[in-house]
Amino acid sequence: MASGTSDIAIIGGGVVGLSTALGLLRSGRQVTVFDGADMDLRASQGNFGLVWLQGKGADFAPYAEWTRDAVAAWPDFAGGLKDLTGTDVALDQSGGFEFFTDSEEFSDFAAALGRQQAVLGNRFSHEIVSGDDLRRSHPGIGPDVVGASFCPLDGHVNPLRLLQVLRCAVLGAGGRLVTDAHVVDVQASGGGFDLTLRDATRVTAERIVLCAGLGTSALAGKLGFRTRVRPQRGELLITEKLAERLPFLSSTIRQVDEGGVQIGGTKADAGPDDSETLEVMAGLARHAVQVFPALADVRVVRAWGALRVMSPDGYPVYARSRLHPDAHLVTCHSGVTLAPLHATALADWINGSVDAPNLEAFDENRFALSDAA
């Protein structure tokens, strides 16, 4: 069965695919987004919602620059989404902490931020704060915290609302969104592409952008890409809602705009298994109480595991297929942070505009050596 043709088909309807679609729609393209099945592994439905700069690209300058640009573009992006959809994604960029209970980890991270500072110069700023100074400025911080870093540019959004708003924005901009559309095969054919969905529906498109998150690996080879991604599990807790605002945001403890406190940040290689484990959940609770002892009395109401999308080196991949130049691949771990650029500059790059950013550093040719090994 055939089901129409599109100018550009985006495979993947998560935060990355929808942001990319929005940019292409705004550039005048006709776009259809194919969103996967309910049971697919969806990083966009389990993540933490950080808009985060500190620590990003300390050892890879292009990523530090790209992330800095994205963080700076967030206020306009959030405002534009609100104008388009009437919904506020609860962007708050009032700065974020990274708390440490281990002195060695603290000094290692401080050194990494020093390297990031050297790369970004006056486009970045951060503070390294001792535990005692921290407890003077933030009296509720626990005695086990040896120190913290603070970056005034860090922030967060409500991640589920962002996903919902992006879907509305894509539809509002004239995009087509096909749900329960797991793409099982894609083949280049006669200057375009044939897509086959799981229910055997066939679709054609002139151009393709593969934004399929953890579904990327299964399709990348068919389009001549060498990029493969792997899942990295994070587990998260969320507490009952609190009347007060927590006096800080950190990369592991954030208060949702609705009042609940989300606790997370664990990393595990567990394959495609997104279940949660008692041991890790207990560790998260312990960490939160160490950082902010007043949380000890607050109940956890939900917990879940979710899988990050990791490229071999953890950095984003923006690649044009050598075999099929009308096929692009976009994947990254930080789809929330980078969304404003995916919805603007990335469209220029996909369109081949003269003012497109130079994304050569993010090409997949950097994986060539590891493939040969």
Partner: protein, 106 residues
């Protein structure tokens, strides 16, 4: 202002116990849950949600969390899962709990 309860007490009440709701004395039947006692006392809302909407017990079986109430200083207790005890101090919650527990007075 109280409205008349829609829940009828049985003709031969069992032993009664005394508790307080927002400082006012309330008589309850021994063995009842807090949620049942609050419904029998009045049909009033027993809490306000984070957005200020009135709520009281609904499912009576631990699922819906609409019966949340402060019990002896502990916020967000499911009233339908706790039995009344003599001298129990109940407070209606107005909005979400506070970080340090305690009353929810605006």
């Amino acid at each position: 202002m109280k409205i008349a309860s829609r829940f009828l007490t049985p003709p031969e009440p069992a032993a009664t116990i005394q508790l307080t709701l927002d400082g006012e004395p309330v008589t309850a039947r021994a063995g009842d849950t807090v949620a049942a006692a609050l419904l029998a006392h009045s049909g009033d809302a027993s809490r306000l949600t984070a957005r200020g909407a009135p709520r009281t017990a609904f499912c009576m079986m631990g699922v819906c969390f609409d019966c949340l109430v402060e019990v002896d200083g502990r916020p967000n207790c499911q009233g339908c899962m706790v039995q009344v005890r003599d001298g129990m101090v109940l407070r209606r919650q107005r909005g979400p709990r506070k970080l340090m527990g305690g009353a929810q007075d605006a």
